[in-house]
Symmetry: C2
Subunit: 353 residues, 2 copies
């Protein structure tokens, strides 16, 4: 996939985003990772073994044997969103909220990998693939706990209840979305509306929580917190749609995920749902492929991907992603210094993994 | 198993316990259930379906289809401990903390059933046996979330941070204990020390948290909170040891769990670990049985149970349970009005399920 994944959005939002994105966004991610890592290391370092060791492996700090390494620890996009939201609202001290969001995110990854039977993440074997499903369930549980502990003990007392409430809501929404996503695999029909509601839970809720917590840390008023929640939620939807596009057309060497995995597992991602909803020959052929549960050869994966393109699935998914980015940017109150948030929004459309 | 499971403890503690237990304890459990149920129903009622429906089934409120029923919703022992601890410290309003503890307890049950492949709990099919492991993982996750939300938003602001910290610590300790318990099944040797450390996490930590939260709600001083934590933790260990005894010698019709399950799965429970540590012919024969992973017939289960008895496993487990009860009772500060706590302690030794 080329750098400009989504093509032009509306003129205004694209112009606003482009001005700030190119150099700024990678720096924001790096700064978020650097700010959160000591907090995460301290939190995780206090876990009993082997949970501590498994967590450090998951975050890319150690190899399976506990020897320090420098593996991919994830994008830290959510932490960067929390910090950028806090900065936009004039606050600075949002590191512990950002770390709480990263902990919640990683809890969901560890459990999702068990449920989805994903053996690879960030180019390495997943927790359950190494330690088994039981230990992975338990590791997810303790990361979940650390997330709540972080948000309950690291924020000003006045904002704690509101922050916990948002984190809890996001956690439940993520579980709802994941439940629906799993359930879709056993169904023959999934509508666009159902798919988008699922993605709003699975991906939108936590990004909305990330930006809302940043605003809360900065002491923003309820309207601003709510606007930043909308920004993050809509951005999260765009993120998921781009993820779905990369799941079919991304380069496995860059994404770290096997090619055509979504098709092989008969997943219902946005381009596929959009393709299947069309009244086209390609959609009917694709639907036939989806009725069979036989393994697909690389050639069959390529052919199925082509069917999604032919039925307009890629185009529709791109349009939806652009619309969500525009809605996100439009939600930002004019008085905020939101250049960092715009840069991160631009990154979501330009990312390659 | 007869009503008096453990036989006499030391004279003092037994006398103190007996005076108050017989009529009081069942009333305390019932009152705890009645006080918590509306709070739990409100919390769970706000979950999205199907997670809401699964939760209501788990708590015994509804059948699989969501139709109201009155199935066993558990003992509510932990909620009763929180309330009794609060009452002992002169406080009254501990219902939300009690509900948080019950939510955390039930989160662990739902996940443990997945890990242990237990198909039956409280005489009904478990969540994963009906809805599958993925949905059960997600249900556990949302109950975990509700637990933290409950404790973060339901307590006086001054006690929130301390309460969350204790709930988080208990949650991590429970996961550590469960991890060790699973790991023991793959090992040939488990020492008594290792077993007790595991049980202190798996069962002791949450009961300690239950009583400590009650004290916190009542505004008790740190020494009293700590003493009540010790009381609960030691009581939890006794509870686990009695559970282990019932796992071998309990009546399946009363316990709701299949006979000899621990032996069939080659689990290392206290009577079994104690038996295997002895230098007896029975221990050597039992160790031989444990090296095989072949299924056991009912006759073989009965013979293996007899070997544990012959090697003194039951006697040792009873002694350990009594010692823990004595330690628990001794930890109670003299100035507390702790009759309810003593009644609940007595119940742990007398329970049949």
């Amino acid at each position: 996939m080329t750098a400009n994944t989504l093509g032009p959005t509306t003129k205004t939002s694209r112009a606003a985003a482009t001005r700030t994105a190119d150099h700024r966004a990678p720096d924001l991610l790096l700064a978020a990772r650097r700010a959160c890592e000591p907090i995460l290391r301290e939190s995780i370092g206090a876990l009993p073994d082997p949970l501590r060791r498994m967590a450090g492996y998951h975050f890319g700090w150690w190899n399976v044997g506990g020897v320090p390494t420098a593996a991919d620890s994830g994008k830290s996009l959510r932490a960067a969103l929390t910090r950028a939201a806090a900065a936009a609202c004039g606050g600075a001290d949002s590191e512990r909220a950002a770390a709480a969001v990263e902990l919640l995110h990683n809890f969901t990854l560890v459990h999702d990998d068990v449920m989805d039977r994903d053996r690879t993440r960030r180019g390495r074997a997943t927790i359950w693939a190494i330690w088994g499903a039981n230990d992975a369930i338990l590791l997810g549980d303790v990361l979940h706990t650390l997330s709540f502990r972080m948000v309950c003990t690291g924020l000003p007392v006045a904002t704690t209840a509101g922050a916990v409430s948002r984190l809890a809501h996001a956690s439940i929404e993520v579980c709802r979305g994941q439940q629906e996503d799993c359930e879709f695999e056993t169904r023959t029909g999934v509508t666009m509306g159902e798919y988008i509601a699922m993605a709003a839970g699975k991906t939108g809720a936590l990004m909305g929580c990330a930006t809302a917590l940043g605003a809360l840390c900065a002491g923003a008023d309820p309207e601003t917190v709510s606007a930043l929640d909308t920004f993050g939620r809509e951005l999260g939807l765009a993120f998921q749609f781009v993820d779905d596009i990369m799941g079919l057309w991304g380069d496995p060497a860059v994404t770290g995920k096997p090619a055509g995995r979504d098709l092989v597992r008969r997943k219902r991602t946005l381009p596929i749902v959009a393709a299947l909803e069309t009244d086209t020959e390609a959609a009917r052929t694709l639907a036939g492929r989806y009725r069979s549960s036989l393994p697909m050869t690389p050639a069959e994966i390529a052919a199925a991907t082509e069917l999604v393109t032919a039925a307009g699935g890629r185009e529709t998914a791109l349009r939806h992603a652009n619309e969500r980015i525009d809605t996100a940017l439009a939600a930002l109150p004019a008085e905020l210094r939101a250049d960092d948030l715009r840069a991160l929004a631009r990154l979501v459309t330009d990312r390659e993994r």
